[in-house]
């Protein structure tokens, strides 16, 4: 069985300061891990994906995440927050068994960016 824990339900940062959204996972297999973002009243958009290549993954809009197997973590970071980053972020682990990749979602972290 696989699971994802997002350690913060809500994070608030000032514009121009770093962003850290924390995620721990549990998986019986070599996992694929994703971060998705959901802006208000919009569908989910893929930010970045880890699939056992480089452990530091770069995504869109300046975000990146580092896969740390020893810590079972996949934290999302960005050096400098922008107002447009305000959204809900989901950490996701993929089950690679079967015919369709089933995704298990975390409960989400709402990022607030203030002036």
């Amino acid at each position: 069985a696989q699971s994802v824990t997002q350690l913060d339900s809500h994070v608030s940062v000032s514009e121009g300061t770093p962003v850290l959204l924390r995620c721990n996972y549990s998986s019986s297999y070599s996992p694929s891990l994703f971060w998705y973002v959901q802006h208000p009243n919009k569908g989910l958009q893929l930010l970045l994906k880890y699939t056992s290549a480089a452990t530091l993954v770069k995504g869109i809009n300046g975000f990146e995440a580092e896969f740390k197997k020893s810590e079972t973590s996949f934290h999302l970071t960005k050096p400098s927050a922008h107002m447009s980053d305000a959204a809900e972020y989901f950490c996701v682990v993929s089950d690679q068994t079967g015919t369709a990749s089933k995704l298990t979602f975390g409960t989400g972290t709402r990022l607030q960016v203030t002036l």
Partner: protein
Amino acid sequence: DVKVTQSSRYLVKRTGEKVFLECVQDMDHENMFWYRQDPGLGLRLIYFSYDVKMKEKGDIPEGYSVSREKKERFSLILESASTNQTSMYLCASSLFHLWGDSYEQYFGPGTRLTVT
């Protein structure tokens, strides 16, 4: 540009009604998924399909059924809507899974269903 569309953004139905939510993708993806999203619970998988007429239960299939008669279209059916099915419903699609790889899913904008 990839596209997943859902038939309605907002829907209000009465308890006991039969409800159809439609999803269409134009990417020729084999896999399609239905999720519901509730505050504090993230997304939970209801059903998925990996081929026409094929379906598998997800984590919360009770009270729902699905239909996939064409590759591009995946329908979610609430046989008799209840108030606890008030939620945001998201459809997604992805390429067919190959062992050792995991394709990202592309999501539609969602349908916010209210059952009164």
